[in-house]
Subunit: 394 residues, 2 copies
């Protein structure tokens, strides 16, 4: 059996970016992966500005606790003010540029307005309440690297530099195919011996959540010639084929013969539970990832093994996640495979669903993540364990 780490490493070795850079506007870039570095073309902030609503003045000119400093100007945000007249203060607002000659801003709560002037009743330190030119970002500084996923705050940062367009990798086109002659679509009548196709909706959801372009091919027919046509079409139309079911050593699994015939396929036994059978191959030149058929196995192998591969094809620089440590509220004997226990985080630690059978999707919906149990690792109640929230794998 192949360890999970080796399986992922082997996949990533056979992996390259499959999406081309495309010019992208800020408003369309959410969730995209940067295809270029982002370098600041300006200083942020572009000038010294006030961190408060208050008064700008020269610290050395503070007349003391009871004396009035006359007001010489009023500076709203958005205007470049003239230099401060010596011996005066300027009314200033948050974000407004500090005038030349002023070196300190006092917050208005520490002042008293008197006629055409102001009494500063609590004088701050020299330089207080001023955000300095370039204190956040210096012109010429690289702020984001190629391969970075664009989250809301990342878009905010790019916007703050005035950059409205940049290159991102176009979304990876991912084919989703469900295999199994027993599968029936939800909404249709189920006959004896048939089951509803759940993997299609789970995998389609993951593909969309991951930011890829979903190419949904539905249920593969139970006929080698029709499967051949379907796979050839998927290979021509997409970047990667993600398939569930049909890759065990059972005789009824036509798909692996067809993939072999159109390209190549390796059946792996990965030391993962739920999971284990995993196929990696190519249909023509298009990579083919064959997941197991049981829903929980599909979820775990998709999140743990397929995700880093697909993300790397998309151009993401680092698809690894840092698990969090949680206190186990359960005990579990280790086995030969790495187990991904469907679990739920609670205030005190993490609980484990009592039924971990690979057919049971209820366990994945009950909780919010996976406890990673290494091969041979016995978990006792109270142990610190590695927990990966599903949210980190989205």
């Amino acid at each position: 059996m192949l360890s999970v780490e080796k399986a992922i490493a082997e996949l990533l070795q056979n992996c390259r970016v499959l999406a081309e850079p495309v010019p992208t506007r800020l408003g369309q870039a959410l969730g995209r992966v940067l295809a270029q570095d982002i370098t600041a073309g300006i200083d942020v902030p572009p000038a010294d500005n006030s961190a408060m609503d208050g008064y700008a003045f020269r610290h050395a000119e503070w007349p003391g606790l009871e004396r009035i400093l006359p007001l010489s100007q009023r500076i709203p945000a958005g205007l470049r003010p003239p230099a401060l007249t010596p011996g005066t203060a300027a009314r200033i607002f948050t974000g407004a540029e500090v005038p030349e000659g002023a070196d300190t801003v006092v917050m208005q709560e520490h002042c008293r307005a008197v006629g055409e002037g102001v009494v500063i009743e609590k004088c701050p330190l020299e330089g207080a309440n001023i955000r300095r030119l370039g204190q956040d970002i210096r012109c010429g500084q690289q702020v984001l690297a190629r391969g970075r996923r664009l989250e809301p705050q990342t878009l905010g940062l790019v916007a703050s530099l005035g950059i409205a367009e940049f290159d991102t990798f176009r979304p990876l086109r991912v084919a989703v195919i469900s295999n199994g002659s027993e599968l029936v679509e939800p909404g249709e009548a189920v006959k004896p011996g048939q089951i509803y196709n759940s993997n299609r909706y789970m995998l389609s959801g993951l593909v969309r959540r991951w930011g890829f372009e979903l190419c949904d091919y539905g249920i593969a027919p139970d006929d080698p010639f029709a499967i051949r046509d379907l796979l050839a079409r998927a290979a021509a139309e997409t970047d990667v084929i993600l398939s569930s079911g049909g890759v065990s050593v059972g005789e009824e699994d036509h798909i692996k013969d067809v993939v072999e015939d159109l390209g190549s396929i390796d059946l792996w036994k990965v030391a993962i539970k739920p999971g284990k059978p995993f196929a990696f191959g190519r249909v023509g030149k298009t990579p083919f990832l064959g997941l197991p058929g049981n829903p929980s196995s599909v979820l775990v192998t998709a999140l743990i093994i397929a995700r880093p591969y697909l993300m790397t094809c998309q151009g993401l620089g680092n698809a690894a996640v840092v698990p969090v440590r949680k206190r186990a509220m359960f005990s579990s004997r280790g086995g030969p495979r790495q187990v991904y226990l469907r679990a739920k985080s609670v205030a005190d630690g993490v609980e484990c669903h009592p039924r971990q059978s690979s057919g049971v999707l209820m366990s994945t919906v009950w909780g919010d993540g996976l406890v990673v149990q290494a091969p041979g690792q016995d978990i006792a109640e109270g142990d610190e364990v590695d927990f990966i929230p599903y949210a980190l794998l989205a």
Copy 2:
């Protein structure tokens, strides 16, 4: 000052679901919130089926280690098999229905095929390798409750029950408005005293990431009459108005006067850092959330205060997140406000960005979440602290 907990509680008390239920198909439901309970109409699995590729037989009829059990049928998945002929075995594949009369499945790796029969070389326990009717879900069982967010695995579960359509709340329409006469759109030329509008792109990204319908109104004009028109239009067209900037006590902030005039507004001083000024009001009947103007303050107040309010308006049953515990790799003195330190999780714990100024978006992009520092809580290196990954707030 209002504590963060009290501010959220106060908001949620003034909150109701603002989106109507709409019939939704499985393929369109990703990220939606359920507007109905989901109850199973079938047993899952619908019949006893094989967990392995192997042979189904009656355990009492095992002829021993060396004797051949003749094969009487071959059961692919997807067919209802006839009852097992006594004294025989049936070839069976994963997911295929176990025939009446068989009570055990032996995996093929423990068998040897001989002519028209099979030798079972390692006999499993009676009942082995069979997934029982209804073991995952019983007909009539409630599996999901109204108010639940539909993630990929949740969609898989609904699909496995054969349910193709159900009611979800239509996405909340959220208006995003940026206030500040100093703001300029990225791509345009910036004049002295002006800064680029980053909050628009950050808030728009959050609104879309949260599954809402984005209604982007751009930068509010610096004129009370034009603001009045804009707010009245946003109130008529959307469910909630999310506004950044313009709610401090400075004189240049027209927006609060206009909101007051068109409805009502309360200015809160929330004990949150970055953050503090927060406005809650109504434009006509449409709720108005006024966030601060500094980008980091906008991010933190949006994630911590606005998110639970908006999610509750959307119909989500529980918008609370469980922070994870991490070991601090830094020290920080507590203050009067609850601080959300921009931080980065590493293998050993969590690091804190050295510059926590509210104007600095770099700190939010550098890391992957927020350390929560309660009022007065001094954090020493090595302390366990509460950390909220940004991913949990998406």
